[in-house]
Symmetry: C2
């Protein structure tokens, strides 16, 4: 049997720096735990645009379809702001999500004990926080047709279409219920059914799936505006949050910020099972390309490293190894090791990106 | 000259209780400051449905078009959850917004000194907070056509349309710039131009209006997901936030929660000037109908009272009287007078809805 394969798309800004640390960890797993991966690398985002004039080439797209998992760094930067919509770095990322059909985006918002002081929220509201946001990632207003800017009655009109089919809602709902089964058995489904018909259908389908297939799960429904409010007010009330592409974009960033550092948060984007039984999958840190600190050795590699832990768990069936890696990160944090973004009033040992990577390797 | 006119639509849940306190304040202004208003009352939401089978009758709608200002309490309750979309209490509110063409929804998020401990955020992050959110209220995905639930390829599809014309964007942008001129001269315009064409048009039009008409205003652009994050991270960075109907719904609730109590926050929804020079206008608290505490004398009337202060300022050109009312509220809070929602660990004098109203009247 051939080794499992990983395609690394480090992208722009701090993407390459944080991914360098992940590569060392992948190597460690091969050397020390007999988990050998076939790793290839390619370009995405602005880096791909600079080399090829598009944010993702057809060749890279085809390769992403073949591997067992894609590890993505980050895309974008001010240099590319002037580019046309169709070739902006983000389009590369959105093409990967859409063509790989990665419909379930898992965004854990966890607060690490060692960093609870870091949140802008009061400590007791976030200590021990552990939310899993499941965001639909391949439909909704991100991809709905018609869309564009049109001329009408002598002026321009900007148009986008929010569109969800029953089957699109059903499959991501199942992902959320499956996750809830291994957690606290609670799902909060979020939409604006009081204002949008797409939200009414969302609520109906999610309820029907629960009733028919997951009667043991406690399902509640919440409007998106109230959810934003409740995340700030009492975030620990949530277990799994299930929502659409656009609401998920906003609410997961809000939840991420509750934990105190974006530099800590991983994500997994999963599709249907491939022939080998593994899901189509892409893993990426929630933080962006952070062009302001790129190339200075200041970036925190933990979000990207924890994204690889998610790959171990969801793509490679190595839950124990994933936990090993997560525990190594926790230990390093408990020891007071801190990249610049984690330096708070209580001090700690300031380290660079590579030093943080080395400490985590040492703790493994 | 006839007296300025106010239509009171107290609505459902705690709406009538909090509005009762506003009525006493309106009377006080007539008796003590010579500001006599012609006040009439009518039904909206579930209350209108119970009486007439619709959440807003044509007669009430016509009356709302004629008065100088509408004061709205709150709509909705679990009793009405089973109703069809078309007659839900919310439709009454949305019809008022749309037919009165109240395109600019002003939602101040202010943190009262006496209540800074109340926020879930650390005190130094919110003390002195003063953001003005300007939300477009009559277009976007709330009203765009086509919409509905359709049958397609053997399954149902939920559809909504996000639609903005140049002139719709321009007029609400002007409202935001005008407000910024009387504040800190800064506007942050929020969309998802990296993903949605309607956001691209939004950004272009807002920029063009600034360049042509408000060169002195500092304009910046932010994606909606990042804005949710920045509101939690460092809310005091904002002065005026300008955004569309759906993003405004979510972000204003998030901002509201930062201040610690929803029971404190007013809003104004303004349209074009009428023949008498006053804008079409509706004023309402940001909080909802809170059915769980309705009828128990527990509701906080301050948000509704401060909504009347906004009416004094924006409809009746009585900025000084608005400030007088706001100062009275601040004084009562500084004295430790607290409705149930404001009772924190530091204690205070617990009062009912009517007692809070009486204290504010006494402080006037
Ligand atoms: C970069 C951007 C297109 C993307 C999105 O809007 O989905 C990002 O915000 C995210 O959440 O992954
Ligand atoms: C009640 C509901 C229709 C309304 C909205 O979504 O606009 C409310 O959430 C608001 O913000 O005023």
């Amino acid at each position: 049997m051939s080794n499992p394969s990983i395609l690394i798309l480090a992208g722009d800004g701090i993407g390459p720096e944080v991914m360098d640390e992940v590569k060392k960890i992948i190597t460690w797993y091969g050397d020390k735990r007999g988990l050998v991966f076939d790793v290839t690398e390619d370009l995405v985002g602005g880096a791909a645009y600079d080399a090829h004039g598009v944010p993702l080439t057809d060749e890279t797209m085809a390769r992403a379809q073949e591997v067992d998992a894609v590890m993505l760094g980050a895309v974008g930067g001010p240099k590319y702001d002037v580019l046309d919509f169709s070739v902006k770095p983000e389009r590369g990322l959105l093409r990967l999500r859409k063509e790989m059909d990665l419909f379930a985006n898992l965004r854990p918002a966890q607060c690490f004990d060692a960093l609870a002081d870091f949140s802008s929220l009061k400590k007791d509201l976030v200590a021990g926080l552990d939310i899993m946001i499941v965001r639909e990632l391949t439909s909704g207003v991100y991809f709905g047709q018609p869309r564009g800017i049109f001329e009408e009655n002598g002026e321009r009109v900007g148009l986008n279409t929010q569109r969800y089919t029953e089957s699109e809602i059903a499959r991501v709902a199942r992902s959320a219920f499956e996750l809830a089964k291994r957690r606290d058995n609670r799902v909060t489904s979020v939409e604006k059914a009081n204002v949008m018909e797409s939200g009414i259908l969302w609520r109906e389908v999610v309820t029907a799936i629960r009733d028919a297939e997951y009667p043991e799960i406690e399902l509640s429904h919440m409007y998106a505006d109230n959810c934003a409010m409740q995340l700030v007010r009492r975030p620990k009330q949530f277990d799994v949050i299930l929502t659409d592409n656009l609401f998920g974009d906003i609410l997961s960033d809000c939840a991420a910020m509750l934990t105190g550092s974006l530099g800590m948060l991983p994500s997994a984007s999963l599709g249907a099972p491939m022939a080998n039984g593994r899901p189509k999958a892409m893993y990426e840190p929630v933080h962006g390309s952070a062009p302001d600190i790129a190339g200075q050795g200041k970036a925190n590699p933990i979000a990207c490293i924890l994204s690889f832990a998610m790959a171990l768990r969801y793509s490679f069936d190595q839950g124990d190894e994933a936990t090993r890696l997560e525990k190594a990160v926790e230990k390093v944090l408990a020891d007071g090791v801190r990249t610049a973004d984690l330096m708070g009033p209580e001090g700690g040992t300031p380290v660079s990106t590579t030093e943080m990577g080395a400490k985590i390797l040492a703790a493994l």
